[in-house]
């Protein structure tokens, strides 16, 4: 079995937001909607403070709460773990947005463009009318993965089969791959470092790992 996951090395992330820009450009999300975000957080109490950059987005949970509550079965899950939205089934009730502990879902009621009433040339080619009035979120660039694997490429290793945010990461903080490949780079990376997943107490089993230190847990 394959399960695609993403790894964010918090020690490496510099908060440049290149992943955010790459996702936005590649997926044509409207203003205000960001499937991949990088939060700029301050932790601690002055003077002992830290600044942490945290990439966030859909965590592609093994037990997705969005899928549980979705009344239309529009939210689904592929065999490789990627959580999907069928835009033709979604009724736009936004219940999934209430159920997601990661604030990863968005919905817009009408087409919006970055500069006024009309789309720019790039927007005109990228905007998806089917995504108006329905829930949207990060897809792990499933289309790229499918197209790449169909050509025998390996997601996470071959850029053409890898999510855009991972490709664009300037510091190597974002990594992607099959966690079930026990000798693969993702499994090795997680075995050699300490990591956590967000809101594990909710039982969602996120497919997004945050590395924060070296050494096994």
């Amino acid at each position: 079995m394959t399960r695609y996951v993403m790894v964010a090395d918090l020690r490496r992330c510099v908060g440049c937001q290149t992943c955010t820009a790459a996702c936005k450009e590649g997926n044509g999300t409207p203003p205000g909607v960001q499937w991949r975000r990088v939060l700029d957080l301050e932790t601690g109490t002055y003077p002992n403070v830290n600044r942490v950059f945290v990439p966030v987005g859909c965590q592609h949970c093994a037990n997705p709460p969005c899928m549980e509550v979705c009344p239309s079965t529009a939210t689904g899950q592929r065999a490789d773990g990627i959580v999907t939205i069928d835009y033709e089934l979604c009724i736009g009730c936004s219940y999934c947005a209430m159920a997601c502990p990661y604030d990863a879902r968005s919905m817009v009621d009408h087409a919006e463009y970055a500069f006024g009433e009309q789309p720019t040339a790039v927007e005109a080619t990228r905007i998806g009318r089917e995504r108006i009035g329905v829930a949207t979120k990060c897809t792990f660039c499933a289309g790229r993965i499918d197209a790449g694997t169909a050509r025998g490429l390996v997601p996470g290793q071959d850029p053409e089969a890898t999510p855009l945010c991972v490709n664009s990461c300037i510091s190597g903080a974002l990594r992607f791959g099959d966690i079930e490949d026990k000798d693969g780079p993702i499994a090795t990376l997680l075995a050699e470092n300490q990591w956590f997943r967000m809101h594990e107490s909710e039982g969602t089993e996120p497919g997004f790992y945050y590395i924060w230190d070296k050494g096994a847990l």
């Binding site: 918090l10 939060l39 945290v54 990661y102 909710e202 230190d213």
Partner: protein, 291 residues
């Protein structure tokens, strides 16, 4: 470890969604009280019809809110796990059955409708409980709160649309007391997470204080009205007692709607990011340590 609070208020459910919980709660409670009246041999058709109207109005508001209203039928596709689907299914049986009870003046149909209304209200409570992204809805006390609120509002409207005799004032008082207990339990549970604690701030704002003051005034008014009814001879139960009963009904219902509107639209903060540890950076002893 303190950190920047990233939770933000949910952006998608506005007063139209709140209207579903207001209409559904009040309507369900009213249908339950109407069925009790039916079994007791009292007139029940008007409050039952009104209860159905509340539920239908609430569902209509949701229909106006969803992004793809012409696909609304898809809401029935996921009964296995979605409380929203279950709510929809119960409503499709409840509304025609209630209509039959009203049209045929049927007590058995009214009782069945009341059972379905209770189920409908339970579904609404579980819709909120299943919202794992919003800690203020996620806590277990939300379920008794929604149930008690619906019953209180329904029994309050029954005082206006049905009877305000002693049994119905007693029922209203018990329901309002249950709502108070559920509210106190719910409120004491907030604060478990930063996002839920932010709801406490919302409940301290002037509109929330006003709604709470009206709730307490409603409680006092119901108790006074019941006291009037018990202490005065039936013949002496004239205009003042009736006015007091109606006032209490209005206060209990409106204040409940206000609190519910705040709960859905203002006090709902998404859980967002919480870091259990911070990354190791730099050298020597400057790196952060786990907490």
């Amino acid at each position: 470890m303190s950190q920047t609070v990233t939770s933000r208020r949910q952006r998608y459910w506005d007063l139209r969604a709140a209207g579903n919980f207001i209409g559904g709660g009040t309507g369900s409670g009213l249908i339950v009280v109407a069925a009790i009246a039916a079994v007791a041999g009292e007139p029940f058709r008007l409050p039952l019809a009104l209860g159905l109207g509340f539920i239908a109005a609430g569902l209509s508001l949701v229909w106006l809110e969803i992004g793809k209203p012409w696909r609304a039928f898809n809401v029935f596709f996921h009964p296995r796990t979605s409380w929203m689907t279950r709510e929809g299914i119960v409503a499709t049986v409840l509304i025609p059955l209630g209509a039959i009870a009203v049209a045929a003046d049927s007590v058995p149909a009214a009782v069945l409708a009341a059972l379905l209304a209770a189920g409908f209200l339970f579904c609404q409570a579980r819709i909120l409980r299943a919202a794992r992204g919003i800690p203020a809805w996620r806590q277990a006390e939300i379920v008794p709160l929604i149930l008690a609120t619906g019953l209180a509002e329904g029994s309050a409207v029954f005082l206006l649309a049905g009877s305000h005799a002693v049994p119905w004032l007693t029922l209203a008082l018990l329901a309002v007391l249950a709502r108070e207990a559920a509210w106190l339990a719910y409120r004491s549970g907030l604060g478990g997470t930063p996002a839920a604690a932010r709801a406490l701030g919302v409940f301290a704002t002037p509109p929330a204080r006003l709604a709470r003051a009206a709730q307490l005034a409603g409680l006092a008014a119901v108790a006074l009205a019941l006291g009037f009814a018990l202490l005065l001879a039936p013949g002496a139960l004239a205009a003042p007692a009736t006015l007091l009963a109606w006032t209490s009904g209005v206060l209990v219902a409106l204040s409940g709607w206000g609190v519910k509107a705040l709960l859905i639209t203002r006090a709902a903060f998404i859980r967002a990011v919480v870091l259990p540890v911070v990354p190791t950076r730099g050298s020597g002893g400057r790196h952060a340590r786990p907490v």
